[in-house]
C-alpha cells in the first residue's frame, strides 16, 4: 500500500500531468484513496495504469455507493491493484444527483421509506460518468451492475443494460430512498388486514 507521503506524491504528479484531477487524498486504515473529479476519471485511471513506476494494471473492482444525506450523493469506486508490488490504490469519484431538487432542500429522508421525492422510480435525468471499459475490459459487467442498481449512466459503455434486475424493471433498487419492499410479517394483531391469507 503506498503510504501517506507516497500517496501525496502520486496526487501531485497526477495534478501536474492533468490539472485539477485529484481533489483530495485519504489514507486511513491502511488503504490509499484518491478522490477524483468525476469528469477526469479516465485520465487519472490511464495515468495510474500506464506511468512506468506505478503500473496499476489490474482493476479489481468497480462499485458504486449512495451516500444520500451526504452531498454529492453518488460515489463510484475503482479498486486498482499492482500485482508485482502487491499494492492497492482506490480511486473514488463523487457524482451529484441531477434529478434531486437543489441540494440545499434535498428533502428525501435518509434510510426511511419516503413516498415523495425522487425515489428513483423512472427518473430520466441520471448522473453520468465516463466508462472505463476500453481501459479495463473487466469493468463491463460491474458498470452495468452500478447502472442497474443506482441509475449511474456510463458514457461510452458498449452495452449499458440492466444486468441483474428484469430488463423492463422500473426504479433503481439500491438507492437509499428506494423502499426495501417485501411484505410486513403477519401476526395475530395485524392479521385482520389481509383476511383469508391462509387459503
Amino acid at each position: 500500500m503506498p503510504d501517506a507521503p507516497g500517496l501525496e506524491l502520486i496526487a501531485q504528479e497526477i495534478n501536474a500531468a492533468h490539472d485539477g484531477t485529484v481533489i483530495e487524498t485519504a489514507h486511513e486504515r491502511g488503504t490509499a484513496t484518491l478522490i477524483v473529479d468525476s469528469e477526469r476519471v479516465l485520465e487519472a485511471l490511464r495515468w495510474l495504469r500506464d506511468t512506468p513506476e506505478h503500473e496499476y494494471r489490474f482493476l479489481a473492482s468497480v462499485h458504486a455507493a449512495d451516500y444520500l444525506p451526504g452531498e454529492p450523493r453518488f460515489g463510484v469506486h475503482y479498486e486498482l491493484l499492482n500485482m508485482p508490488r502487491v499494492e492497492r490504490v482506490s480511486v473514488k469519484a463523487l457524482l451529484a444527483d441531477p434529478a434531486s431538487p437543489s441540494p440545499a432542500t434535498s428533502s428525501a429522508s435518509p434510510a426511511g421509506v419516503s413516498g415523495g421525492g425522487s425515489n428513483g422510480v423512472g427518473t430520466l435525468v441520471l448522473p453520468e460518468i465516463d466508462s472505463c471499459v476500453e481501459l479495463f475490459p473487466t469493468a463491463d459487467y460491474q458498470e452495468r451492475e452500478a447502472y442497474d442498481f443506482f441509475g449511474i449512466r456510463f458514457r461510452g459503455h458498449p452495452d449499458l443494460r440492466r444486468i441483474l434486475m428484469p430488463e423492463d424493471y422500473v426504479g433503481w433498487p439500491l438507492r437509499r430512498d428506494f423502499p426495501i419492499g417485501g411484505e410486513p410479517v403477519l401476526f395475530t394483531h395485524n392479521e385482520a388486514e389481509t383476511p383469508h391469507w391462509y387459503e
Binding site: 492497492r88 459487467y141 460491474q142
Partner: protein, 427 residues
C-alpha cells in the same frame, strides 16, 4: 409498498407466454453472430436457459450456433437475484452475517471472513490468534468442500457420473466436521465480528487429523478415475484456451487465472490471516486449457489439506474471541454477577455496536477468486452500504472468450471449468 414491481399472482396463472423482456437481446445476438459468420440462414440462436441441467445454477446463455460450432455466447444473469445488498442495509452489523454468507452458497465461510474482516478493520479490533487459526481451518475445509462440489458436478456434465457420488461422499464428511464445530452443515454463521462464535469441541482436532490423513489418498482415487480417462482428457485438453494477458485484462482471478500461468493468490500476500505461518505452494498451470484448470483445483485440494494439518497442530491456546465489550458479547456466566456485563449485553443485543463513519474494501481469496467486501459505515448501527465483489460475477466475462469458435460440447466443458456459482453472481 413498491407497487410498480410485477409479482405474478397465483390465481390468474400469469400469462406465461407473455413477451419475454429480454427478447431484444436474443435478436441482437443473432444479428451480430449472423453478420460475423457471413452466412445468415445457417445461424441458429437458442437459449441455454435458466433451467438447464448443465448450467450449474440458473444461468441463461444466449448461444448463436452455426451447426455445432458456437459463434457467440451472451450470458444473461439475475434469475436468482435476492437483493442481499439492499437487505444488509436494513440490518445491524450482527444480522448482516447470515445474509452475507448466503450469497455464494458454496463458500460461506469466506464471505463471513470477508465481511467480519472488513468490519474488524473498520473498528481496528484485534482478533486473537486462536480465532484466526480457527477461521483458517474452517475456510480451508470450505475450500475443499467447494472444489469437491465443483469436481462432482463438472465430471457429471462430462459424463463421469460416478465421480458425483465419490465427491459428495467426502463432502458429507466435511459437513460432519462443520456440524460438530458449528452445529449446522451449511451457512453456519460461525464467524463473529471479533473472532469465532464458540470454541471447538474436544474431539474436533482428532477428527480433522483423521480427515487430513485420508483426504490425499481420496484425491488420488479421483485422479485415478479421471486422469487416464480418454474421454475426459480428449474433452478437456486444449479446449477453452485464453491468453494470459486477456485473462488479466478481464479481471479474472482465482484458479482460472492461476491455470493461465499467473501465480497470483491472495493467501500469500494478505497479511491479515495467518497464512504466513503455513508453508503451502500455489499450483500454477501452463497452457490455460480445461485440463489445467482441473489440475490446479485438484492440487489446491491437496494444498488445503496441508494447511489444515499444520493449522490444527499449531492451534494456539487462548481466547477464541476478542474481549472488547463494546463490540463482543460478554461471556454468559458473567451476566449473573457483574452489572456492566449485563449493560453491555443489553446494549449489544438490542441495538448492536456502532462503527465510526468510514469505508473499506477488504479482499480475500475465495475458492473462485478474489472476494472483496466493501462496507461504508455512517456511524449508526447499520451499515450504509455492503457490496461484494464476487469472483464468479467477474469471471463470467471470460466465458464468451473461451467458447467462441468451439463446439457445444466444449461450451459445456468450459462452463463446468469456470465453476460459476449463480448465488454469488446474482447477489
Amino acid at each position: 409498498m413498491a407497487d410498480e414491481i410485477k409479482i405474478p399472482m397465483a390465481e390468474s396463472g400469469i400469462d406465461a407466454g407473455a413477451e419475454d423482456p429480454s427478447l431484444a437481446v436474443v435478436e441482437r445476438t443473432a444479428a451480430e453472430a449472423a453478420e460475423r459468420a457471413g452466412t445468415d440462414e445457417q445461424v441458429m440462436t437458442i437459449n441455454m436457459g435458466p433451467h438447464h441441467p448443465a448450467t450449474h445454477g440458473v444461468l441463461r446463455l444466449v448461444v448463436s450456433l452455426e451447426g455445432e460450432r458456437v459463434l457467440d455466447v451472451r450470458p444473461i444473469v439475475g434469475y436468482v437475484h435476492t437483493g442481499i445488498e439492499k437487505s444488509c442495509e436494513d440490518k445491524s452489523y450482527w444480522k448482516v452475517i447470515p445474509f452475507v454468507e448466503r450469497m455464494d452458497y458454496l463458500s460461506y465461510f469466506f464471505q463471513m471472513e470477508a465481511f467480519c474482516g472488513c468490519v474488524e478493520r473498520l473498528l481496528e479490533l484485534e482478533v486473537p490468534d486462536r480465532a484466526r487459526y480457527l477461521r483458517v481451518i474452517h475456510m480451508e475445509l470450505n475450500r475443499i468442500h467447494s472444489h469437491l462440489v465443483w469436481l462432482g458436478t463438472t465430471a457429471l456434465d462430462l459424463g463421469a457420473i460416478s465421480m458425483f457420488w465419490y465427491c459428495f461422499r467426502e463432502r458429507d464428511r466435511i459437513l460432519d466436521l462443520f456440524e460438530m464445530s458449528t452445529g449446522q452443515r451449511m451457512h453456519t454463521r460461525y464467524f463473529q465480528v471479533g473472532g469465532v462464535f464458540e470454541d471447538i469441541p474436544a474431539g474436533f482436532a482428532g477428527k480433522v487429523r483423521d480427515f487430513c490423513e485420508e483426504m490425499p489418498e481420496r484425491v488420488d482415487q479421483y485422479e485415478a478415475l479421471l486422469d487416464r480417462n480418454e474421454i475426459f482428457l480428449h474433452r478437456t485438453k486444449g479446449v477453452g484456451i485464453v491468453p494470459r494477458e486477456r485473462v488479466l485484462e478481464l479481471g479474472v482471478t482465482g484458479p482460472l487465472l492461476r491455470a493461465a500461468g499467473e501465480p497470483w493468490d491472495l493467501r500469500k500476500v494478505s497479511d491479515y490471516l495467518p497464512y504466513g505461518d503455513f508453508d503451502f505452494q500455489i499450483p500454477v498451470g501452463t497452457v490455460g486449457d480445461g485440463y489445467d484448470r482441473y489440475r490446479v483445483r485438484l492440487q489446491e485440494i491437496r494444498e488445503s489439506v496441508r494447511i489444515i494439518a499444520q493449522a490444527i497442530d499449531g492451534l494456539p491456546e487462548g481466547p477464541f474471541i476478542a474481549d472488547d465489550r463494546k463490540v463482543v458479547l460478554p461471556p454468559r456466566d458473567e451476566l449473573g454477577t457483574s452489572m456492566e456485563a449485563l449493560i453491555h449485553h443489553f446494549k449489544l443485543v438490542t441495538e448492536g455496536f456502532r462503527v465510526p463513519p468510514s469505508e473499506l474494501y477488504n479482499p480475500i481469496e475465495s475458492p473462485r477468486g478474489e472476494l472483496g467486501c466493501f462496507v461504508v459505515a455512517d456511524g449508526s448501527a447499520k451499515p450504509a452500504r455492503v457490496h461484494f465483489r464476487d469472483p464468479s460475477f467477474v469471471n463470467l466475462q471470460l466465458l464468451p472468450e473461451m467458447c467462441r469458435g468451439g463446439l457445444i460440447a466444449d461450451l459445456i466443458q468450459n462452463l463446468g471449468m469456470l465453476d460459476p456459482i449463480l448465488g454469488g453472481i446474482d447477489r
